[in-house]
Subunit: 147 residues, 2 copies
């Protein structure tokens, strides 16, 4: 058997966030896992794609549905480095995703500032995995931006 | 001078919704207008694209930003036949769109059921234009689906 941990998958999401950082994007990354296999990896590309909807979570949801050939992600888990915004939480609602793990909280733009019950009633939500690393990456990004 | 009315643009959104209807999609349509010119037209394509994020509003926002070469839609107006869901309202927030006109209310999945203040504080929101036609189209769709 192979043993997977939530940290393992969140680390993969962090790798995506680091790619965003390198490309001058707000560093948020996400992966979607089905049967302990990563079926989608994405990072924020709002600048590159010139599109406010191109958040890591949105791109990952679209890619996962493509990969599965199914619109709903009921048996999937998302790992995302930062608390999703209301747009992404709304998309996660429609996807009926099984579980969402997010790293750092976003007290300014996270979905909980809008409505803490935005996700689907069947979706389980967990927070805090590798939160320190995810938060530091965002802090470093804005520090660099100001310099 | 040419005289435009909100009904004219909402009628164009309704035409998009009718295309969705013909293609077996939940019939919602949207257009985005800049300087009284339609710069994006879209209809719901969640079935065809196998993607829960492919709502008319999302596709229109992406298309408008592409057309304008600008991520923000500050000087634009969206006309959409149905009250946007929280995902689309979240996207409209990020777009900082100037005005949103929606037709029929959606008491089940409209953004106001989640948080009536989801749009950007600078965005003006108007409702009810050609609402009867937009609502009838949705009712006809679900009636046909049940038959």
């Amino acid at each position: 058997m192979e043993l997977y941990t939530h940290e393992y998958f969140m680390n993969e999401a962090l790798r995506q966030a680091k790619i965003a950082f390198e490309e001058g994007e707000i560093p948020v990354g996400a992966v979607i896992v089905s049967k302990n296999k990563i079926i989608a990896r994405a990072y924020n590309q709002t600048e590159k794609l010139n599109d406010v909807t191109a958040h890591a979570e949105m791109l990952a949801i679209t890619a996962a549905a493509n990969g599965l050939g199914a619109k709903y992600l009921i048996d999937c888990r998302m790992y995302v480095t930062l608390e999703p915004c209301p747009m992404c939480a709304g998309a996660l609602f429609w996807s009926q995703i099984g579980e969402v793990y997010f790293g750092a909280s976003d007290p300014k733009r996270g979905f909980r500032t809008s409505n803490p019950n935005m996700l689907h009633p069947k979706t389980k939500v967990f927070s805090g995995i590798l939160a320190g690393q995810a938060e530091q990456l965002v802090l470093d990004f804005f520090k660099k931006l100001r310099e």
